[in-house]
C-alpha cells in the first residue's frame, strides 16, 4: 500500500526564513517510507527481555535507543518500544523473536509523521516549544514530550552534527510542521 505523507503538499523544498549570509542553517527533512511497529510486553508476562534481539538489536532500557544502519528501537515507556526501520524484513525479524504469549505487536507505519532536523541550532528550536531538559539527551537517547502541546517523540540520532527526529501522530503532522518551521525562521532553514 502506498503511504501518502501528511506533508505531501506542505513540505516545500528550498531556503526559508532568515537565511541570508548564514554559515549554517537548520536542515529539515521528512522521513518517509519507514516501517513502524509498537511492541508492548504483556503485564502478565515474566519473560526477560535481555536475550531478545530484533534485527540484532536489544530492546533498550529507559530513555535509550538501540540502533543499526536500518533499524532504530526506541524506549517509549515501561515494557513499551517503538521499532522504526527501513529494513523491509523487519516484521519477520520481530515475529521470529517475540512470542505471541508475551508481546503485542502493532503496525503503526501509517500513523506517524516524522521530521528530521539537523544543525547546531536544533536545540534552540526545541527549546521554543518543548519543556524537556536537553542536558544529557545526546546521541542514542530518546524521549517523549510535547512541542506546543503536540505530543511528540524525539529520537536523538547524533550529537555531532546535532541531528534529531521528531515523531508526531500523522493527524498532527501539518500542525507540527508549521510549529517547527515557525520556530526555525529566525535561524533560517533549508527544507530538503
Amino acid at each position: 500500500m502506498k503511504n501518502v505523507s501528511s506533508l505531501e503538499n506542505i513540505h516545500k523544498l528550498g531556503l526559508f526564513g532568515n537565511n541570508d549570509n548564514k554559515d549554517e542553517l537548520i536542515n529539515i527533512r521528512e522521513i518517509k517510507d519507514v516501517l513502524i511497529y509498537q511492541i508492548v510486553k504483556y503485564k502478565k508476562s515474566s519473560i526477560s527481555i535481555d536475550k531478545i534481539k530484533i534485527d540484532n538489536l536489544n530492546l533498550p532500557k529507559t530513555l535509550f535507543v538501540s540502533s543499526n544502519h536500518y533499524t532504530r528501537i526506541l524506549w517509549m515507556g515501561p515494557d513499551n518500544w517503538l521499532v522504526v526501520s527501513s529494513n523491509k524484513e523487519i516484521e519477520k525479524s520481530i515475529l521470529e523473536n517475540l512470542s505471541h504469549d508475551d508481546f503485542a505487536l502493532t503496525d503503526l507505519s501509517h500513523s506517524r509523521t516524522i521530521l528530521e532536523l539537523e544543525g547546531s541550532l536544533v536545540d534552540e528550536v526545541l527549546k521554543k516549544g518543548c519543556p524537556l531538559n536537553l542536558d544529557g539527551l545526546d546521541e542514542g537517547k530518546c524521549s517523549n514530550s510535547a512541542f506546543h502541546a503536540i505530543t511528540i517523540t524525539i529520537d536523538f540520532i547524533s550529537s555531532n552534527p546535532r541531528k534529531i527526529r521528531i515523531f508526531a501522530l500523522r493527524s498532527f503532522g501539518e500542525s507540527l510542521y508549521h510549529s517547527i518551521t515557525d520556530a526555525c525562521l529566525e535561524f533560517g532553514y533549508k527544507a530538503e
Binding site: G77, L132, N133, N144
Partner: protein, 89 residues
C-alpha cells in the same frame, strides 16, 4: 509551572502530565453489594484538603504511566512521587 519527578522518566515539566484526582479513593469491591451512598461517595464526593494531598497524575506526553504524587495543595511543594503500585507514606 510544577516539576514532577516521574518514577520512570525522571524530572519533567507539568506540561507533560495530566491530573487524575485523589489517589486514596478506593473503588467498592467487585461482586459485592454496594449502597447508593457508598457508590455516590466513590464516584462523586471528594475532599478538598489544604495541605498534603496524595494524587494521581498521568505522564501523558511521556511514558504514559499513571503515578502517585504527594503534593501540598497550598504551596504546591511536591514531597514524593511513586509508581501506582507503590505506597506513599
Amino acid at each position: 509551572m510544577l516539576y514532577i519527578k516521574c518514577p520512570y522518566c525522571g524530572l519533567r515539566a507539568q506540561k507533560e502530565f495530566s491530573y487524575g484526582g485523589d489517589a486514596t479513593v478506593k473503588r467498592p469491591n467487585i461482586n459485592e453489594e454496594v449502597s447508593n451512598e457508598d457508590w455516590d461517595n466513590f464516584v462523586y464526593m471528594r475532599k478538598s484538603p489544604r495541605g498534603k494531598h496524595i494524587e494521581l497524575w498521568q505522564h501523558i506526553a511521556g511514558c504514559r504511566q499513571w503515578i502517585k504524587v504527594q503534593r501540598d495543595t497550598a504551596t504546591h511543594e511536591i514531597f514524593q512521587t511513586a509508581k501506582v503500585t507503590e505506597e506513599i507514606r
